[in-house]
Symmetry: C2
Subunit: 313 residues, 2 copies
């Protein structure tokens, strides 16, 4: 990226991948990617090579989240530089292969854009996940998508955080974009969720085509929700969960949670209230896959990011 | 059961079991049963011994539906009479143990009542599952529960069918009752679903207490949905699914589906319509666990069953 007269210049985004099945039981991405592997017409755009790819085929076959370990946390420097071999967990082997095909991560040879398609059991709607607040290309793309699907909404979750590091599958690309659509149970394909994901992908690819054609995108702002804190379920001294997400909070992803608001309900009916310092916006509320990560939801805070103008080099 | 002056007499229902975790990732039953194992006060009733029991502990530990095979189809005569041994699938071993503790199935020594607690990803609300249209005890109980929770509804699914045999865990008891509550994703505990299940159990146990006290229940009728036909997803010649449940049908469990109504939507947007002879009432619509059973939903037909008066012997 180079700057001149306040316009940031990026290379054409010629190599684009669409990942499905990073979690093998999230059926919208698995189904879309499999469809596009059979017939890619829908994702073809002038000047763009778009590669649909199933990242965790064994997990997809078993319709399970993963086989040995979460692929979407496996793209650490340590894993990617480990001596390869059959003794490594399946997903670590797979991360190395993906890094070879689409990376190497952090190198000039890496793919320009990777979309990674996920579903959630939470009521998150059609959420875009952004890894860096400085990535003007992605911010411009998200701005474009938000406008294109309005009046439907499309929240942006910014996962940039001083402590929480995710090492996602998509992080191999120069511009990684997560798409998290819900609510949809694991192992289920719902037509409404499937169609939402498909529409967002369409607009994203349209943006890339326009960018590659040389269109300049003027400065813009994007409202995002920045990840703040992981909240666990209340537990007893043995680590057993003793409360559920409160009915007032369940399904209220992206809505304000204020100090004093109900947060959990114990099995004997006691309400546990949020006692943070100010308003937060919870998301990933009661996500099935996060019980094992000791996470009932994450709090976020609203922020407006500014993106400078961009065009191709 | 003996009859006199049109009142059917049953023995007291002294031994009652509540099964959770027959499917290890259906969290309402798992959680309730574990709570009641710790403290059974809530399920104690005068003259009733109620035993809460986790039927598939290994599946619960792994938060998976089953380990080797579906426990809830494992209670066949063949399985229950097979020579026991470590080489049998885990769930078959487990079925034999359960049959020993709560059965033997079909014998006078069997438990009087078993409630088996399930969750579904389908929008089935709080459904009672009845295995026999002739079981006046269960019909009277369901009549009692329906009245007790009105104006909330509590559909009864009758699984009696000339061809489809289920061999459920609860079938070990003289009076087997399934409770199927949804929508709830696998691996998730939702407070609303948890509370619905708890309330139905409360009324069911109240009924048993009243029955055991000697109360006579007069003749009644119960509206049920009788299982008719399994409907698979549309597939290509390789067996791959090529369509989703239509948005007009998704979440519409127990609502009428008429000839000509949309049923599936192919991935390229074509509507596939229901072409049966008359109105049916679909249920288990888009249940996660039934993809592997090649079942998109089951059709049912409405029927009104009559139950004679009952009292204890
Ligand atoms: Zn995922
Ligand atoms: Zn079940």
């Amino acid at each position: 990226m180079t700057s001149s007269t306040n316009v940031s210049c990026f290379h054409e985004a010629r190599r684009v991948a669409i990942f499905g099945g990073t979690h093998g039981n999230e059926m919208s991405g698995v189904t879309l990617v499999n469809l596009w592997i059979q017939n890619g017409k829908e994702i073809q755009r002038k000047g763009v090579e778009t590669k649909p790819f199933i990242t965790n085929p064994r997990a997809v076959e078993k319709c399970t989240r993963y086989v040995d370990t979460d692929l979407n946390r496996a793209f650490t420097t340590e894993n990617l530089s480990a001596p390869s071999g059959d003794d490594l967990p399946y997903e670590v082997q797979r991360a190395q292969q993906i890094n070879e095909i689409f990376g190497p991560k952090g190198s000039p040879e890496a793919y320009d854009v990777i979309f990674d398609l996920h579903n959630t059991t939470s009521n998150m709607g059609c959420t875009l996940i952004l890894e860096s607040s400085k990535d003007y290309f992605n911010l411009q793309m998200m701005h474009y998508i938000k406008n294109a699907i309005a009046p439907d909404s499309c929240p942006v979750l910014l996962t940039e955080h001083p402590l929480l590091k995710y090492s996602t599958s998509r992080s191999v690309a120069k511009h990684p974009i997560g798409l998290e659509v819900g609510p949809q149970p694991q192992g289920v394909l719902r037509s409404n969720i499937f169609e939402s994901m498909r529409v967002v992908l369409k607009h994203a690819l349209d943006f890339i085509e326009l960018f590659n054609k040389g269109l300049e995108f003027p400065p813009c702002t994007v409202d995002v929700f920045r990840v703040s804190e992981k909240m666990d379920y209340p537990r007893d001294t043995n680590g057993n969960i003793i409360a559920m997400v409160h009915p007032n909070l369940q399904d209220c992803d992206w809505e304000p949670l204020n100090p004093g608001d109900p947060m959990f309900q114990t099995f004997d009916g006691t309400t546990i209230r949020y006692e943070g310092a100010g308003t937060v916006y919870p998301t990933f509320i009661n996500e099935a896959a996060y019980y094992e990560k000791q996470q009932a939801f994450v709090t976020t805070r609203r922020e407006t990011l500014a993106a400078g103008a961009i065009k191709k080099t």
